[in-house]
Amino acid sequence: MTVITSDIAAPPPAGKLLIMWRCLKRDKLALFAAIFLLALAIATIAGPPLIGDLAAKLGLRQRNLAPFSFQHGWVYFLGADTLGRPIIARLVVGAQNTLGIAFVAVLCSMLTGGILGLIAGYSERWYSQVIQRLADIVMSFPSLLLALIVLYTLGPSITNLVIVLACTRMPIYLRTTRAEVLELRERMFVSAAKSMGAGSFRIVLRHIAPLVLPTLLTIAALDFATVILAESSLSFLGLGIQPPDFTWGAMVANGRGYLANAWWISFWPGLVILLTTLSLNLLSSWARTFADPQQRWRLQSLRKTPR
């Protein structure tokens, strides 16, 4: 083996972040996704103080205003909703609640599902069985009923909403994690780690979890959309977010009756949900490539020796 150092100067040692940034640059779609999400984050934080009031301003005389006209000002460029409120402003203001709820719900379900799945898959004790049957029960429990029960017993609040959403999505993570663990725990490197004295905790966390995580991230990225839309379907029970607060999901649901006449009411929020999900997916598939040493070269510069 010869390291060719003469014709190509080795790049100076780079920090982890820098390496990630370099790899991100190589995947154009993932880069766009990251930029979109960043812009969304900025809009979420900076948007409401700037145009917050516009989003709640009624305009009953310009209900369902059609998009693509500057006549009423730029905020109405994407049209107005059923109460004549500018859709652009509502998209910006709605982002905070939407992303907040979806993010927390997805994260909670992924974490609890993932952790329980790791336990259920790795351990062969009685609680593994208990966890699995509980997951089956949650899986067979209609989410609407759960929502209703939570609503009546705990009362309406965003926290409870997140609990319901997280609960209903949890089994998929749990079962997927368990399935992967069942196979991974038979691998030799797990035995090797055991023989070195690694406890179950370490094996599960350091050896197994990193290999399960990419699949979970893939599911989570798509679950984001599911959760956003599910949230709006729960709000009709009174458990969801209550007006005057709103989310993208609620905006989509609001335009449901108007698909034939005023498509823009639910189209734009649907589109941002879609773009967000898409971005998260592209990013998660980038992360998957980045995290896998056998795939990482796809994101590297691969300078060839001149021939």
């Binding site: 209703l148 196979e183 034939a260 649907g270 999900t277």
Partner: protein, 304 residues
């Protein structure tokens, strides 16, 4: 293996009974059905008479004991709204949902396996990008959007398909499509992800050295090794469909169990809620047992 199935089955039966008890007590915390069944302007006396007639005035644990006693006699209660045996209603609706879910999942699953695998053979390629974009778009668009717009386009504008209802093949197309979209999107992503790993495993080199057909290598060797999470997710999605293809059922007027369950929940038709959950939960538990057995079939290293 047989002993494992036996153990699993008995655990499942206990769990289902637990689930039923849970549902029984919890649903009764969600308000009094009497006001919902009677017209809004009916009198308090009428409502009380109604509650008495249906036993809602009894203490909850007595109601539960009654329910259990009836359960042992395979009497699952009467639907208060529909004036019929609740189990009969549930069993009438269930096959409809099952048919739909089965066809949709079978379609989504096979397509996803093929598309996801091919996408994984050349990650970042044109096919991969296209499949990803299309499937993700389909999977993250609100389902009623697709359903209603689909009807407006294909049934109203072009008059190609019937708007809704049940009947011949043409009635199946749109509901199946709408139902399959999300599972397809998710499965494609999962297949693609796990396949990426599997395709760089050493045994793929062996297969290449053996001169196997590319198809064999991708679908026979790599795919087979990455199926565990895929069937798990597929199972989960199937459970989701069994439990609630609500949008599709209500938009397309498909008399399935999802809509039935939702209506029963909203109207607090307790006997129907219990029966539908019993039916779907049984199906889901059986599904999960099958999937767990499938793990052992797919991967010989997994033994129970």
């Amino acid at each position: 293996m047989l002993s494992y199935i036996g153990k699993r089955a008995s655990h499942s039966v206990i769990s289902v009974i637990g689930l039923l008890a849970l549902v029984f007590f919890l649903t009764r915390l969600t308000g009094d059905p009497s006001s919902l069944f009677l017209p809004l302007d009916s009198t308090l006396e009428a409502r009380q008479a109604f509650a008495k007639l249906h036993g809602f005035d009894q203490p909850i644990h007595w109601q539960f004991l009654d329910y259990l006693r009836d359960l042992i006699n395979l009497d699952f209660g009467q639907s208060v709204r529909q004036n019929r045996s609740a189990m009969e209603i549930a069993l009438e609706a269930f096959p409809q949902t099952l048919k739909l879910a089965f066809v949709a999942m079978a379609l989504a699953f096979t397509l996803a396996l093929v598309a996801g695998s091919i996408a994984a053979t050349r990650p970042g390629g044109l096919f991969d990008r296209t499949v990803s974009l299309v499937s993700l778009t389909g999977a993250s668009a609100p389902d009623f959007w697709i359903a209603i717009v689909g009807i407006l386009v294909f049934a109203v504008s072009f008059d190609l398909l019937p708007t809704s209802g049940t009947g011949g093949i043409s009635y199946w197309i749109m509901p199946i499509f709408v139902l399959a979209l999300r599972p397809f999107g998710l499965l494609v992503q999962v297949v693609r992800g796990t396949m990426l790993g599997a395709l760089s495993a050493p045994y793929i080199k062996t297969a290449r050295a053996k001169g196997l057909h590319r198809k064999e290598i991708v679908f026979g060797h790599a795919l087979r090794n990455s199926l565990l999470p895929v069937i798990t997710v597929a199972g989960d999605l199937t459970a989701g469909l069994v439990n609630g293809a609500v949008i599709v059922e209500s938009v397309f007027g498909w008399p399935g169990i999802g809509k039935l369950m939702i209506d029963a929940i909203i109207q607090r038709d307790f006997a129907v809620v219990q029966s539908t959950i019993l039916v779907t939960a049984t199906a889901i538990f059986i599904l999960n047992i099958c999937i767990d057995l499938l793990y052992a079939v797919l991967d010989p290293r997994i033994r129970y």
